[in-house]
């Protein structure tokens, strides 16, 4: 028994063990039930179906580790798509348009941070307000119409391939590696853990918490903007309907990936597993032809199950003594 305990403890120290096992199990079940599940074609479909969420989840991981939340991503996505759509109709050119649209996205992130820093609004409220307003503004700008008719150079972003791999997937992989390296090993990004783990201690050890928040929310909004541009290119149009409910899927992936809403905990690796997990479930719906209305029900259930499983394994793996007072009290 003791050796099982220590093995469990070792594994849970690495984190995400429950999640990785679930992904493996799901993969086995799916490939037995649907022989084409593990084909390159289907893997690509699965990946592309979730690429927006995947990109946004990278930024959201930073936000959640820092103890915050960003509900505005699902609105920044269509907003950026619309901005880039409008700019592409001018004579600016593709790259300047993209740059400006991303700049606008980052600015929205700064506004989020500004509200949190200066007005002392909770991140939940600040970003919810931003989301609501952005959706409204997007409707005002477009009057509800879809913008379309973009140059081919723009079309390539969503449809091009390098060595046979879709460009959006490459963008994601590069950014994922970059984010993982930075968050794990870079001294600047280590601060994110400090701020989320103990904001007061962070301030005492000289972390400029407010400044860091601009960076974090700026990055999150940038990722949502990038997702918006990719979406616009994929659909060769821009509409206010893009990204609906993607915020909840993004947050779910990050939490399933082991981050905690109270901050200080989480990793890019975990988030990526979380994204893969949700993507496979989404693909399972496509494959089985089950009504997709059920998809969100399953996501919600999975969120609960994942959190429960991690907690359970951790409790099993940990030495009984390590149970903290708080856990003990709340169990009573």
């Amino acid at each position: 028994m003791r050796s099982l305990g220590t093995v469990l403890k070792k594994l849970t120290k690495k984190g995400n063990i429950g999640l990785i096992a679930s992904v493996a199990l799901l993969t086995v079940v799916m490939s037995l039930a649907y022989p084409n599940f593990l084909t390159l074609f289907n893997i690509e479909i699965t990946a592309m179906g979730f690429i927006q969420e995947a990109l946004m989840a990278l930024g959201m991981t930073l936000v959640i580790i820092s103890g915050g939340i960003d509900l505005s991503v699902a609105a920044v996505l269509p907003f950026t798509a619309i901005i880039v759509g409008l700019l592409l109709k001018t004579s600016l050119g593709v790259w300047p348009s993209i740059a400006i649209a991303l700049g606008v996205a980052v600015l929205i992130g700064f506004i989020n941070a500004l509200m949190i820093n200066k007005l002392r609004v909770f991140p939940f409220i600040a970003t919810l307000a931003t989301a609501t307003m952005l959706r409204g503004v997007a409707l005002v700008i477009t009057e509800g119409a879809t913008i379309s008719g973009f140059p081919t150079a723009f079309y390539e972003i969503g449809h091009g391939r390098v060595y046979g791999i879709p460009v959006p997937v490459i963008i994601f992989l590069v950014l994922a590696v970059l984010f993982a390296l930075l968050l794990k090993n870079h001294s600047y990004f280590q601060q994110v853990y400090f701020v989320g783990g103990n904001a007061k201690a962070a301030q005492l050890s000289g972390i400029k918490v407010n400044r860091l928040r601009y960076v974090i929310y700026g990055i999150s909004a940038f990722m949502a903007g990038l997702a918006g541009i990719i979406t616009a290119s994929q659909y060769v149009s821009a509409s206010t309907g893009f990204g609906l409910n993607s915020d909840m899927r993004v947050i779910t992936s990050v939490i399933i990936g082991g981050a905690s809403l109270s901050g200080g905990k989480g990793s890019i690796g975990g988030t990526i597993w979380g994204v893969i997990f949700l993507a496979i479930i989404s693909n399972a719906f496509v494959q089985s032809g089950a009504p997709t209305y059920w998809q969100d029900v399953v996501y919600g259930g999975m969120l609960l199950a994942a959190v429960f499983l991690e907690e359970y394994l951790r409790a099993r793996g940990r030495k009984a003594k390590m149970k903290s007072w708080r856990e003990f009290l709340t169990s009573g």
Partner: protein, 495 residues
């Protein structure tokens, strides 16, 4: 006289209408150990936070090496060579020791990426200097309060400060660790570092410091050379009258057994522990840090599972399923770490005091009777001599020692039959300490069984009727409090 590295002139500070520092002057010489003492709430930590750039003074000036400075944040103070070990631990639990020690100053390559090997090596060296052999990658959450304190000290040492402020560094340390700390302070002093040392333990203050400054009610009473003064004079300066450090008389008679523990065992932490607690007595748990005292208390309280052993309360075998269960049975436990379990920091004193006894104040419908709550809270505020004597401030804003008093008030209010107190006078000033001792004695006299865990031997010997000595998870002796010497206890604690 050597040149001053730090010169403070006319510092005043108010929080709202409450003026906590009045026109403070203080000079610290190069390479001296300067003790700063005063009662709980006198303003010691506040003054240090001003020096450390955490609070800004309302008036007054600070000079470092003759250069006038105004710190707008902690970094500015660190840049001038001032580093603070805070009274309230300020580490990030989910990160490693190394990450905490070198927070913001990690060795990095030119791209800013952390050099983990070097980081761990340097942390290991620092911790070894403090006499601890531990993996620098260990999460802080897994460490005991004592080790956390050492991590804080390592953090301050790593900054190579010119002025090192230690705000009650020894309150969570065992004797051995304290000795190591003294040695390090001596080394630093020899290297020309100035140290400001805050403590409520006067013997330690005399052992370590060159000069002593005393604060009372936010005013600087004076600075004296340690060799020219004595405990009585210092206490007089602190409280404006003399206090006899007297322990209350011991129990004249004890009643029947309230709590008895038989063969308590778990792994190699607790082996076959047995003892009895009688009605009306104070039983002390003495021993080194890690000898199983806190573990035993937690096991009784039901916080940790045990492999074997029975706990009998009033003749009935009990096994508490939760903290609430224990409290409902009249067993209360004042924990060693007041921040973790003890207090709701963002709530006011009143709420904290009644928080474990809300049932007492509920009408038949379960509605709270606020007038009763107010009266009771006010009573306990007076009873434990809380400063300020008010039940409305947020606990967060109380001084460290007053938080400890608030925690005691909370458990006194819960009407326990068995009260276990773990380090009850940690960070409490001399006067209040005597008060707390007499509260515990009164409680015992009223028929409550009291267990006191303390690392301060004089406290254990002065206060307790009997003393159980712990050694590596066993009780090696149960001695009478009367007539036992510290040497006797140490013999059983280390044999």
């Amino acid at each position: 006289m050597v040149a001053s590295v730090l010169k403070i002139k006319g510092i005043s500070k108010s929080f709202g209408v409450h003026k906590v520092l009045h026109d403070i002057d203080l000079e610290i010489a190069k390479g001296e150990v300067h003790a700063l003492i005063g009662e709980n709430g006198a303003g010691k930590s506040t003054l240090m936070k001003i020096i450390g750039g955490i609070h800004r003074p309302d008036t007054g000036s600070i000079e470092v090496d003759g250069e006038s400075v105004a710190f707008s944040n902690p970094q500015a103070a660190m840049a001038k060579g001032i580093s603070l070990v805070h009274q309230e631990l300020s580490l990030v639990p989910n990160l490693s020791i190394a990450q905490n020690v070198f927070s913001q100053r990690e060795p990095t390559n030119w791209l800013g990426f952390v050099k983990w090997d070097e980081l761990h090596k340097r942390t290991r060296e620092l911790m070894e200097r403090l006499g601890v052999d531990i993996d620098p990658a260990t999460m802080v959450a897994e460490l005991s309060v004592g080790i956390r304190q050492l991590v804080e000290i390592a953090k301050a040492l790593s900054m190579d400060a010119k002025i090192l402020v230690l705000d009650e560094p020894t309150s969570a340390l065992s004797e051995k660790e304290v000795e190591t700390l003294y040695r390090i302070v001596d080394d630093l002093k020899a290297a020309g570092v100035s140290i400001i040392f805050i403590s409520h333990k006067l013997p330690e203050v005399f052992r370590i410091s060159d000069r002593i400054s005393v604060l009372r009610d936010g005013r600087m009473i004076g600075t004296v050379k340690a060799e020219d003064t004595d405990t009585d004079e210092i206490i007089h300066m602190m409280v404006g009258r003399s206090i006899e450090e007297m322990y209350p008389p011991r129990a004249s008679s004890v009643g029947e057994t309230v709590l008895s523990v038989e063969g308590l065992s778990r792994g190699d932490e607790l082996s076959d522990l047995s003892f009895e607690l009688k009605k009306g007595e104070i039983l002390g748990f003495a021993g080194l840090v890690g000898s199983g005292r806190t573990e035993t208390a937690r096991a009784i309280f039901g916080a940790d599972p045990v492999d074997a052993g029975t706990i009998t309360l009033h003749g009935r075998t009990v096994k508490f399923k939760s903290a609430l269960d224990a409290i409902n049975h009249g067993v209360c436990y004042l924990t060693e770490d007041r921040k973790d379990l003890g207090l709701f920091l963002t709530k006011n004193v009143r709420t904290n005091i009644v928080s474990s006894s809300l049932k007492k104040f509920a009408s038949q419908l379960g509605l709270l009777q606020h007038s009763g709550i107010e009266d009771t809270a006010k009573y306990y505020v007076q009873h434990v001599k809380l400063r300020p004597a008010d039940d409305k401030p947020l606990v967060m804003n109380l001084s460290g020692g007053n938080q400890q008093k608030a925690l005691l008030a909370k458990w006194l209010c819960a009407d326990p039959q068995v009260l276990i107190v773990d380090e009850p006078t940690r960070g409490v000033d001399v006067g209040a300490k005597t008060e707390i001792h007499s509260h515990l004695r009164q409680l015992a006299n009223s028929g409550v069984g009291v267990i006191v865990i303390s690392s301060e031997l004089p406290e254990i010997l002065g206060l307790c009727d009997r003393v159980a000595v712990f050694n590596e998870g066993r009780i090696t002796a149960v001695l009478d409090g009367e007539g036992t010497t510290q040497e006797d206890v140490m013999k059983y604690a280390t044999m």
